[in-house]
Amino acid sequence: MTFILLLYGPFFYKILTSEGRPMKIDFFRKQYSTSEILYHYIDYTGKLILDFLEAIGKSGMFLIKSIIGLFQCGCKVKNVSEQMLFIGVKSSFIIILTGVFTGMVLALQGYYSLSKFGATALLGPAVALTLIRELGPVLTALMVVARAGSALTAEIGTMRVTEQIDAIEIMGIDPFSYLIMPNMVAAIIAFPLLTAIFDVVGVWGGCLVAVQLLNLSMGSYFGEMSSYVEMSDITNGIIKSVIFAVIVLWICLYMGFYTKGGAKGVSTSTTRAVVFSAVHIFMWDYLLTSILGY
């Protein structure tokens, strides 16, 4: 109980004393009647529900517009390649780094588990399958959210609050095709490529640990891999990464595009973009795994 009070106390205090509502509830200054408090909470809840419904509608329209835009191919190659550089090329170092360590830790943990069943010869396929089917697309998407997604939200959010997007609109340019679509297209190309890099370096990272630390031969690590890893595993991983690209960019760009307020608004949008993207990646990962087969 003390723990809950300590953790959530400031949150409840903020709600009770929230400003900007039709009526400010401040128990330290004035006594309010039960009906006034009830009115405040009904009003507050109603506003939250309306805001939530509006956000769902707006973000849904944003996604539909993005998907239609993908088929219209209205953005310039130069703009797409600029964003490819930002989302893809500049993320590759962090992807390689995380890929190597993920492969290494998978090899260590896998060896521990497999040795209990006397199946250490299957370490290579186990590492490869885990990376290709699951960890490659998920961790790549998470790393790109952390590096590029958050930056995109902050950049577009800043453009919104400093009237740069208004300026683009007034010039007669559609901000959607100029700002949003090149990022979307670039991400759809970059995500599967980055995932492939992650998978390959992860497998080699696992190999490093298996051969140097666990004294397995390279032959036994790679030997069974081709018989256990099928083309469908690779295809599923690629499909996942493309869907993650659309989801991540949808959330990050939507949050930036509809940023309100000044610096505080930009920071809120960026935090929300990262948190929502991460949650969506895990949710969609489960859904896709169950749809694509396991």
Partner: protein
């Protein structure tokens, strides 16, 4: 003759606060009209209505006789090509050089050849005295340079109508005067129709033909600069002379 800009009985409310409350204004072809009024009274909101960035709760806006109030984004983007807009803070794209900022509408809207884009951009930037800063980024420019760059970007499409949202705010008196002088020269040369929001009183009155003062959401006074300076209207008189006593007091403090 049909006015180029005609706003009739505009109403706009934000979070229960009425900002425009029956605002009506017409600007004839080739006329430069100043809008003055207290800070936060709705001057920039009015300009954003003119380009369709905001929709009025009630009322109509006509540009060259065409009603824009109910237009969709596609129709608005055609109308917007008639406009140049000089923002209060420049609103230049930070990730682009000055050249790319000014070239943006030429590349994206007119889709001109790169050689033509280069010629027009350099020409426009030289006109505003930024010929040496072409490859600089907005973060490397001073406040005055940013405003001039914003002016160059607004002019590069040869617009019929130019809207100036406080182009001299926050600048020193000499740079402010230089920018106003520049606007006057351009207006004499190009004869565009314009709306200028300004607090630069009375300097800005030298370059405009009419002055409208927003008060309580309405165009309380619409006069020539000379008439407004003669203090015939108490609200305008108090505002332009910055007097503490008068009808504005209760709202201001």
């Amino acid at each position: 003759m049909e006015p180029v800009i005609r706003a009739i009985n505009l109403h706009k409310t934000f979070n229960g606060q009425k900002v425009l409350n029956g605002f009506t204004l017409s600007v004839r072809k080739g006329q430069l009209c100043a809008i003055i009024g207290q800070s936060g009274i709705g001057k920039s909101v009015f300009l954003k209505h003119l380009v369709g960035l905001m929709k009025p709760d009630q009322g109509q806006i006509f540009i060259n006789g065409q009603e824009i109030t109910n237009m969709n984004n596609k129709e608005l983007s055609v109308i917007r090509r008639k406009f140049g807009y000089v923002f209060q803070n420049g609103a230049l794209l930070d990730s682009r050089t000055l050249f790319d900022n000014v070239a943006l509408p030429l590349r994206e809207v007119l889709r001109l050849k790169e050689s033509e884009v280069r010629e027009r951009v350099v020409n426009e930037l030289e006109k505003v005295g930024l010929g040496d800063a072409i490859w600089k980024y907005p973060s490397e420019l001073s406040g005055g340079m940013i405003r001039r760059a914003g002016l160059a970007r607004a002019l590069v499409m040869n617009p019929e109508i130019i809207l100036f949202d406080e182009p001299t705010t926050g600048l020193d008196p000499i740079i402010s005067r230089t920018i106003l002088k520049h606007i006057r020269q351009l207006h004499r040369k190009l004869r565009f129709t314009g709306v200028l929001i300004t607090h630069q009183i009375p300097q800005a009155f030298d370059i405009v033909q009419r002055v409208a003062m927003i008060y309580k959401g309405k165009a309380a006074v619409i006069e020539t600069p000379d008439n407004i300076m003669q203090c015939t209207h108490p609200v305008a008189c108090q505002f332009i002379h910055g007097r503490l006593d008068g009808p504005i007091k209760e709202d201001y403090f």
